[in-house]
Amino acid sequence: MIQLAALAALFALAALFGGVANALAQAAFVATFALAGLGLVLIVGQSGQLSLGHGATMALGAYAQGVLVAAGIHGALALPVAALAGTLAGIVASIPGRRLGGLFFAMSTLALALVVEEGLLRLVPLTGGAAGLVVPPLAVVDWRLHSPAAQAAVSLGLLGGAVWMARRLRDSRLGRAWRAGRDDESAAAAVGIDLGHVRMLAFACGGALGGLAGGLYAHWLGFLSPEQFGLPLSFELLMLVFIGGVRSLSGALWGAVVIVSLPQAIAAIRQAVPWLEFGAAGLELTIFGLIVVALVMWRPAGLWQAAR
């Protein structure tokens, strides 16, 4: 309840300063990133494995959506396909880790991220390559979602559904198996949990949410190009779940709020302090890096949780 009230207050503040339409558009982005972040929370927080390629599941979802809609398929029908694309990517990326676990999940998801980015750049007939791909607005039956209000409503609605499902998963037998494997591998294996299998399911669920978020993201952006989905996006998503606290489902939402507002906050700082003009691009990278390092050092359990 307090969290909802805080979110509503933040939204009111954003609407007051940037206008209602802008605030609604930002809310759509926040909800979309939270959706992808929720997927990563299942992988990193619940099953305890590291994914360095969550951005790739978003990329595949976004491009699946973009290509299908461009081919004349209804946007609402294409969204499940986008989620499926993310699921498949998650499963493929988890295969090497199945036998070896640990760092191999990180390496194979990293390989996936790099292959997907290069592949999207090279598959020019389908993706448009570096020139990009234009995505028309999302349509539900005959209703085209042009307005920020409708976009925010759809993404918040899907996020709500995803949170509900993630909660059910967390409290299910599978969720308990994830946490058991995370906390003690040998003990989990000893009580008969097939670690490789349940971790693959974590990557599949996480990938599905990543793909779904990618599908929405494609519409909200209206234009896709491969460099938006490179390794930096995967790290941004990791940072997102880290800010909110990897162990909590609601953390993804708070992390998304920070991640979406951070570039704008940095731009505002630059405007307020003009003598910092020493190198616009450099300053942004430095501040972003500084925030990541400071967070990891002093808030290892998330921005709002005191370090244990």
Partner: protein, 287 residues
């Protein structure tokens, strides 16, 4: 012609191998995956450029000085930041090094002199050397020879020096090493320092070959495939993996359609992870 392509591939492979070596060295000793090796490489190259162009140092003095500077930076970063990653999950050092890398890249990008002009280290001898029909570029030869020398020196260090043996013992089992009088925290610092120095060494070697600019660290992304192909836990494997990636890329660039070259390393990495997840070295051995 083919021989020339192979020499180019070998030189690129040496750079990948050196960065992969730094990555595996850090991983073995600290259980941390470092995502800032590319930025350390870039910073090493820039240090050499600054020493040569701004301070007028000769090349033979600037190169070791740049490597030494980065060794110091590695030690300092370990003391200030990376030490806190001990005992945390994989995620902590990944995010730490990623953030430090962003800061390094941002700081260098912010210096106008670094981006406004292209920099390149000039070798005293730029004429290609003819070896029969093959024209060998001196900068490629230098990369290959320096890599061989560095690998030899590292082999001696790890086999015969006290610090090298202690570092290896610590990588095997920190607890037992501590009982035998090795300080794990000193070894933790040494591993990060050496990792930074090796990346800087690769950067200095790359400086006569490509332009020195803030984005040059992307070559380090090819070091991950090299390390995976070498099995992630083997130092010689990392170098051989780098050579394998470099040569495959050169051949793919020559015989396969445009654009396949950039995918080669990552496709190899995915393939090796799926088929021989413990590295190509284990592929031939019975289980």
């Amino acid at each position: 012609m083919l021989a020339q392509v192979l020499v180019g591939g070998l030189a690129a492979g040496c750079v990948y191998g050196l960065v992969a070596l730094s990555f595996v060295l850090i991983y073995k000793a600290t259980r941390s995956v470092s995502f800032m090796q590319g930025e350390l490489l870039m910073l090493g190259a820039f240090s050499a450029v600054v020493l040569v162009e701004a301070l007028g140092w000769p090349l033979w003095a600037a190169a070791p000085a740049a490597v030494g500077l980065l060794f110091g930076l590695g030690l300092a970063l370990e003391r200030a930041v990376l030490r806190r990653a001990i005992g945390q999950t994989h995620l902590t050092p990944v995010l730490m090094t990623f953030g430090l890398g962003l800061m390094i890249r941002g700081a260098v990008t912010g210096v106008p002199q670094a981006t406004h002009r292209m920099h390149r280290l000039q070798l005293p001898w730029e004429q290609p050397i003819a070896l029969g029909p093959v024209q060998l570029a001196p900068e490629h030869l230098l990369v290959i020879l320096a890599t061989v020398a560095a690998c030899g020196a590292l082999a001696l260090f790890f086999r015969h020096s006290r610090a090298g043996l202690a570092l290896r013992a610590c990588s095997e089992d920190a607890g037992v090493a501590a009982i035998l009088g090795v300080s794990p925290s000193a070894m933790h610092a040494l591993a990060w320092g050496m990792g930074a120095a090796l990346a800087a060494f690769a950067g200095v070697l790359l400086a006569p070959v490509t332009f020195v600019e803030p984005g040059m660290g992307v070559v380090a992304l090819k070091a991950f495939p090299a390390a995976v192909i070498g099995g992630l836990a083997s130092l010689p494997g990392a170098v051989l993996g780098g050579l394998f990636v470099g040569l495959s890329e050169a051949l793919a660039g020559r015989y396969l359609p445009d654009g396949v070259k950039d995918l080669t390393a990552y496709a190899l990495m995915l393939g090796v992870l799926l088929l021989f997840p413990r590295g190509l070295g284990e592929a031939g051995r019975p289980r």
